[in-house]
């Protein structure tokens, strides 16, 4: 006979749930791998004499490296360019922050591409929001090392109507910067006054710009009239 549960209202109501929390303990080599990653990042930091830029998302194809565990520490820099953007310190090209200039091509299969999606107008059409705007303020207090960037919006192509918006963005790359995330190479540099075409995804709430993700990899790029026309048409 099954013993009926005695419901004690003084105890946490989620106690039955807590009994389902068991998972296998983390393997030692996984933690060793974490220490190795941190050690490499610290070495990069020391060599650069600065704190590395924060890391944002990587594509799943970059996730295989940890299986090698502590061996990752011995990967050569050349191999690591493809194996893990974390383990590499590259130097930013002479990107100008004046709001012009080409962006390195990103996308799968390229040396700088930890991008899950290759930029094109069809892929752009799948983004939740897009606008043409000029940077009016930059605050370093964004989530997890990002910048809070305020824009004066000239035109919304999709996803909003506000004349001024503030979004978290990966910090800009400046000439000679140490780059710890290759996606920084596929995002435009910016400063106050830079005019950008910006696109990305909303977070958990479908239409909230708070904590929205600004996409790099070409999905946010320098403004020029021709590209703006193309965005307007694609996102119409």
């Amino acid at each position: 006979m099954t013993r009926p549960r005695v419901f004690d209202t003084s105890r946490a109501a989620w106690e039955p749930l807590a009994s389902l929390r068991d998972v296998p303990p983390v393997e030692e080599e996984v933690l060793a791998g974490v220490h190795a990653v941190i050690g490499r990042a610290a070495a990069v930091e020391r060599a650069a004499g600065t704190t590395p830029r924060p890391v944002r998302r990587r594509s799943p194809r970059h996730r295989t490296w940890l299986a090698a565990g502590a061996l990752a520490a011995t990967i050569t820099a050349a191999a690591a360019v493809v194996a893990s953007p974390w383990s590499v310190q590259t130097t930013a090209p002479d990107v100008v922050a004046t709001g012009t200039g080409p962006l390195p091509e990103g996308g799968p299969g390229t040396a700088v591409g930890s991008c899950a999606y290759e930029y094109n107008l069809s892929a752009l059409d799948e983004r939740a929001f897009a606008f043409d705007a000029t940077v009016t303020a930059i605050d370093s207090g964004g989530l997890f090392g990002t910048n809070q960037v305020t824009f004066q919006v000239h035109e919304w192509f999709r996803g909003g109507t506000e004349p001024v918006v503030t979004l978290d963005m990966i910090p800009p790359v400046e000439p000679g910067d140490a780059v710890s995330d290759s996606r920084q190479l596929t995002s435009p540099s910016y400063t106050v006054g830079t005019r950008l075409l910006v696109s990305g995804e909303f977070p958990q709430e479908e239409t909230s710009l708070q904590e929205a993700t600004v996409w790099g990899c070409g999905f946010t790029r320098y403004y020029d009239p021709t590209t703006a026309d193309a965005w307007r048409t694609a996102l119409d």
């Binding site: 005695v6 983390v26 299986a67 958990q204």
Partner: protein, 193 residues
Amino acid sequence: VRDSDERVLAASVSDSARFGALVDRHGPALHAYLARRVRVDVADDLLAETWLAAFTSRTRYDRRRGPVRGWLFGVARYTLMAHLRQQRCASAETAAARSGPVLDEEWAAVDARLDAAAASSDLRAGLAALSPADRELLLLVSWEQLSPIEAAAVQGIPAGTARSRLHRARRVMRDHLATEAGPDAARSSRSSQ
């Protein structure tokens, strides 16, 4: 006497070797958090992403937003949500399907876990009745054993709001589980409110 998390984190800004102590202290718990929501091999990768993100942004930790442990779980949550969002973008066929709440993805993983554990239908129904944010908060306290203050830091909400939501979630769960326990327990549950 070991240094507090906050002291270790502060010391690691000038001495990066100190950061490893935080990995030792909280690495297993963060891995468990991830492993309850994604496959273990994916959790392995996300764990490394989490710690690197924490390391590279350690100078931006703000004690006013909560304890270090809550901040670390917040970084893990951020990493997890980004992963789930990316997975959905890769698999969903329509833009509408890709733009729904990411916490729904977490619930799908949790639901599968409950299914595998043959959890009671009332337990699952109780969880399903919660809002995604309340359910996440409940799981942070129940499964990750975070304090309400730490759980609030994970979600980026005030501690008072977290307590209020936990109270609401507990009441919903109590009602569902009391129903399962029988009429007497249900009456007891209602009378205690």
